[in-house]
Amino acid sequence: MGDILLLLIILGFTFFTGSIIEKRHFENIKKREIALIRKPIINFGAKTWHTNKKIKKIELVTGECVISGDYFKNFVAGLKSLFGGRLTTFESVIDRGRREAILRMREKARGANFIVNARIESVMINDTYGQETVPQCAIIAYGTAITYE
């Protein structure tokens, strides 16, 4: 009985901390995305990018983020995978990580007018078959920033 009580306490604690952290992170991401609303990124254009304007600077910009779900999210996803279907708790974690990585890339290219040919890669950096660990996802976003004169 002691094991299950400990599990419940950990779950309750991580539920509150996890949801507070997630809420703050999402608010932060939204604020920064709205600030950057006028700086579009596109993921094509390396070969077909034609412009009449003079180009001042071309630069490779990158953004990285490593994110992990909390214990509670991991537990709920484990339960959910018994029944199958969408693992919404992981979706939110990975979405946060991706947007964070993209935002960091865009913030590095603050002066630029455009980011072309953006690519986003993700990799799991822990042992995915170690059942005890919470999955950690490393995301890297990179692209070419173009600044007009």
Binding site: F44, R86, L87, S122
Partner: protein, 124 residues
Amino acid sequence: MITKPPHSHKIMMEVMNMILTNIESVPGMVITAQYGLVTGSTVRAKNAIKDFGAGLKNMVGGELKSYTELLTEARKEAISRMEQQAQRMGANAVINVRLATSSVTVGAAEVYAYGTAVKVEPKG
């Protein structure tokens, strides 16, 4: 200022005639406007019984049908979410679509689809 769009499931039905390419243009069409990156991602899992079946199938080898199905579902959902974003921006095509996957936990598939939402018009 921001009007709440209807629930995602309803839009999923409405998304139609969205052109998707994984090259840098739409052949025979001219790009008239770019709306930037659109993304769609999902994490899905199959139920425990199918996981168990796939584990057994692993011993003899061959196609793991339930996991193929899982990946198909995940891919469809990720692309449809990307299309929803593109549609809300007013685009009618997504070009240079890329798909990326990563393994989140055992028995779960994560698919991420991203591309550039554009408006295209027929040439001439």
